[in-house]
Symmetry: D2
Subunit: 411 residues, 4 copies
């Protein structure tokens, strides 16, 4: 066996009770390495940061690299670090091999000996350094231009994982990890209402990501009220949510089902298609509002109050409405533009849009995800979104309770 390959890594913060240190030690051992804790200063109170310096040993440089790759997203940074390394992109629309793959955690790169925050933090992107070498930002694969200076390897990079994984009750004041339908709902509702009020008070935006069941189950008027009262400041949805909402405004039905009587009506399903056709004939939602044709509902409130929305297209869409962004990449970009300033995100009854938005949000934006299917909630919380609380619940009853809670006022 050759001489051991050695590297020193350091971690700072709430590394014990946030599980970061245990995860790092476990990672070293399970990749076949060994460790020696050189320094460990534990914080005495919950607010005190801890510090650890660990000597990592491996039998080969490949093994050592694998270990360092594994511990990197947990915040373990080489003790002596050099500037990050970049390679110029050789084709448009793809990174050089070995590109650094971003997380949604706050990240820094070392440029000219200085740690610099990465801008536009987003997971599963690459990082490009500007020509002057003074700034860095996340860039989706499709946006790469030949010649871009793309970060490769992990040298000179460090991430700041949220320390509060184990202490999510601080964020939301309740424990969210077990996704269960058997929880007191009033508590979840109260805390989400509180998060929305705090977000508004802080001047940040509340982003709502909504699926069509919001309308089917009878929640459209409630959501319209939230928009009207300034509790929803950005809306991401699809063709179906918007169409069902306007179908209700036009015909009182959703996919042909009467929302008053719960019965399918005459020529029921056609209302859906006729609604889209009408809006297409009028040239769009805003024009339908201006012409006095559309007079209530979620889309009406958004158009009236200039609440920006993105309706992202999908292959299952009928029509679609003129506002629908049918190209997936264009829709992602439209959403990206509206994310800065978002402080809280409420996702209700949509798997597709929730996952898409989850991919775009940085890890520090709090998310509440509401769906009637425990499997969907689990799926969303599994995607590394440590910032997410999951609530297994029906759309309308949840929104009704949320509106009632917000009506109470208070903090």
């Amino acid at each position: 066996m050759s001489a051991p390959h050695v590297e020193h890594v350091e971690m700072t913060g709430h590394i014990v009770d946030s599980l970061l240190l245990p995860k790092v030690l476990d990672a070293i051992l399970s990749r076949g390495g060994r460790y020696h804790i050189e320094t460990l200063k534990l914080g005495e109170r919950q607010d005190d940061p801890s510090f650890v310096r660990i000597e990592v040993r491996a039998d080969s440089s490949e093994q050592l690299d694998a270990i360092l790759a594994e511990v990197h997203p947990h915040g373990a940074v080489p003790a002596q670090s050099e500037d990050c390394r970049t390679v110029a992109a050789d084709v448009d629309g793809a990174f050089p091999d070995g590109f650094y793959c971003s997380t949604n955690f706050r990240t820094q790169v070392k440029l000219n000996g200085e740690w610099v925050d990465v801008e536009d933090q987003e997971m599963d992107c690459g990082i490009v350094v500007d020509p002057e070498g003074g700034a860095a930002r996340c860039l989706p694969m499709t946006a790469v231009k030949t010649g871009d200076r793309v970060l490769v390897g992990r040298r000179g990079t460090r991430v700041f994982p949220p320390e509060a994984e184990m202490r999510k009750h601080e964020l939301f004041e309740f424990m969210a990890s077990p996704v269960s339908s058997e929880r007191p709902k009033a508590v979840s509702v109260r805390e989400i209402a509180s998060a929305m009020r705090k977000t508004r008070a802080a001047g940040d935006k509340v982003l709502a990501v909504l699926g069509p069941a919001v309308v089917h189950t009878g929640g459209a008027e409630l959501v319209a009220k939230l928009v009207r009262e300034g509790f929803i400041n950005v809306l991401f949805a699809g063709n179906a949510l918007a169409t069902h909402d306007m179908e209700q405004a036009f015909y009182g039905t959703s996919l042909g089902v009467s929302l008053d009587r719960g019965l399918p009506t005459d020529e029921g399903h056609e209302h859906h298609l006729r609604t889209i056709n009408t809006i297409r004939r009028m040239g769009g939602i805003k024009k339908a509002v201006e012409a006095g044709r559309l007079k209530s509902g979620i889309m009406y409130e958004c158009a009236t109050r200039n609440v920006p929305f993105v309706l992202a297209g999908s292959i299952r869409d009928d029509g679609p409405l003129p506002e629908v962004v049918t190209d997936a990449l264009a829709a992602q970009d439209a959403m990206r533009k509206l994310i800065p300033g978002v402080g809280f995100c409420l996702m209700v009854a949509t798997t597709l849009h929730s996952i898409a938005v989850g991919n775009l949000l940085p890890a520090w934006v709090k998310v509440a995800c509401v769906d009637i299917s425990p499997a969907t909630v689990t799926k969303l919380m599994d995607r590394g979104s440590t910032q997410t609380v999951g609530i297994v619940s029906d759309a309308e009853p949840f929104i009704r309770a949320l509106v009632a809670e917000l009506d109470k006022g208070g903090a």
Copy 2:
């Protein structure tokens, strides 16, 4: 091929739009028989009954028997029928071979040339005729005594299937067949409230069958209010529902989770066991109320207002509470005794008890089944319970909306 075996059957009622006639014709053909419609008088309006007389032909008497067995529960009765046939039970606790297996539809047997209603109608039982031959009733297998006159074969029996399978909106004023979480909830709630009011107005009883998630999700006080205001007149549940409810009364927690704060508390899970132990030490729920120890909640209201309840035991029970009927057959009997007079049954968040109660209820008692899992709702509606509407919803929000609707009054 031998001479055809022929029988004439007749059907009366709303046999076309209730799908009974199509089902009978399909059954004859798929068992290899042939039919000839000798008479068909269709009702002109929805309220007019129709009548059909069908000649059924088969190639063997076995085939003919199989066809008649198949069409029998759809209400097709041989045109000329004789008295029913009985055989004396030869052992305790089991029927003679060839016993008639009951449905939960209204059933008549021919005794001395007269059609007589079968009493205690319940599915999957046998039917015994009293010694005088003047009456008949359903009897569970375990209750058979040697010498009982047990009905065998289908001769001299006829059933009255609910004609309204296709027209459930008449019963509940809404279409229930598609079990979906994407329906307007307010409509379902309104109609269940209406059914509960009508049941109370008719002097019938509302039976609630409740699972522990009712308490976990925060609905105990709401249910207590329904008991207090006379909207729940009989309660079937298990050890868990009752214990969680009383744990909340004692400690403010359910399985150790604080219903105010949603957080697990000190020594959390132990509250559950200590609650049971306390009630056992006091000698039961009623005594705990009398002693002033238990002061609120579902069980408190039941004990105070003499609302009868059955707590049926299961192998997953902790404790259990003294009132729990640990023997499954004794629990079934206890439930059977309370079913006469029930006009409406509300099942929330319990698969086991819902299926058990569904097995005991006659087909003419309307049932609303609420569960957050679509699979559970489908399962309950699949069990031949044509009387059931299914609502995919969370326990607490559903009950909260139901209470709000009942508070409005009206019909």
Copy 3:
């Protein structure tokens, strides 16, 4: 009350046991109309068609119209019918008001006194008549050009609903209606294998619509074998399925999870992104095969055997791969082009693509839909797709059993 408004409608086929007649009678009554059965000839055997002529009466022409609209898709056609009526489109991309909204049932329109089959049958489209007035075809809303002669109203149209709704066991030789996980799986598998063999023998194409769980659960090699052996002739999927499949070919992992060991590997999730980046750098899947870089898996087999595929984009995609059609309308069109000739469609583990494809398929193409979530299967079967059988099952075990069954040969 004014004089009754009267119309005569006729129906032909298996209208009793297929439930079409009962549905029509129920529809008339529930819209407040009355009916008189003027003629009813019931078929004696299952293969004999029946015929009915019904006088429909209503109190107003509006009511009569509503009734006729309601009974139309059940195949009830006015006894005397005139030529269909068209209006020229006045804008691009939208129909005139009152446009006829298509179903996915076989449809005919009356042109110059002749019943003519509508081409490109697809639900939720309009129907345009060619300038010569000799042919008609379905057209999506977005494809309308100013001046197109668009069908309005129901005059001179008739549909042929599948008569076998109640007798699906004829199609598949098994009863599919109850979506349940508690069915003998071997039977479902055997019948789907049989349908695939028959489709191949008839020279028709088998279309597979696959979600990424096919690869996650370990089924990629099995599907590759089906492609290789000619049992899958067209593939519709998304970026994720193709990427996971090629990630497995490159790294032996799927989303970073080793398919041999089930363990997340070093730098796990990155494999996903690096796979996409590699294919983008090479210029596409086919080029990666030609360059000898991609050597196995589903996409390899498709590329090698010229099995056409559509990878439809979605907003949750990473990358995406160069072949992904990111525009939803373009993806729908790409799928439409490949549907003619499809005789059987197998949908596994994808809600989005399954619904999208279900919208495009005519009602006479048989579909088997496999998903582990009963709610998803129910949703797909609820969408009017009477041609669909649902199987609640895991992806890999289902495909494994299907491959084993097909390996047995036979019919």
Copy 4:
């Protein structure tokens, strides 16, 4: 503020990477206490135990007690401990107030200065010390007799939580925590097969806990083979599993559905009841085997090979079979008697029995839980059963793959 209340606690083992230490520190802080790490020796390799001595400070003795209660099940033991304390039971069937509530972790009590292992370890019981004071064992509430010496408080007790919570891949060689249907199934199957072989090789018993879907989905013959080949040594199930299995042996159907053809048969559902009636008439399963009436299936193999089984009753049972233990407490006791010697437990498709058995098993028996519903699997894994791996899968395909894997032999 009064003088701080102080206690020293110690922990030994893999306390960092098993998360025990972080949990203890978090518990101290969140109950408002403070800590000082007096000694921390971290193991250098994964196999080396660590040791920590912590000074815990609180503002009141109540707070200190609450903290100690919270950290106790994580293995934190007061540095100086006294003998445990007992109180004589004052009534039958209930513990004294303040009784110690057991976990399913290995537990010791201090008697006469010696740490003694608690026997019959089971969660949610009390602990009684024998009259001589030399031994202690878990006792269910209902089994308490007046005068029993019942442990109260936590003094002189310590528990050994499984250290491997984070390293479950050691037990099963795969990571089980994320309950997902999107995992490679072949890996799960392989590892469960390996665990079963190892259990058999170690002379321990494999316990199978099975629900009726095992038979419905077509898996009865596969399970029968596992019994025959000695891979299942104890069976826990209910009336339904046994009845469906024997219905298949008698009629080839399960709940009236043909397992060959998948079609409901003549008089379908009655087969279920007739099967029970037949077994009741013959006096039981064993007698039906001896009489040559029952010739195949799971129950046949169990009866023939003297594989002990418990059929626990429930209120939804039809019949039931003579062997069914209808009293829930008697059924729990019957299961308790068969648990010693069990080394591995396979639970398939039953929520009720799985939870019941999970409550009875000590924490060191490994469990694999298979169900098609992710919510059920999550529920079972949530119940503190850190020993459980969950697999979201269909019953029959899972068992088929397991049998194929076991047929391969090997370890």
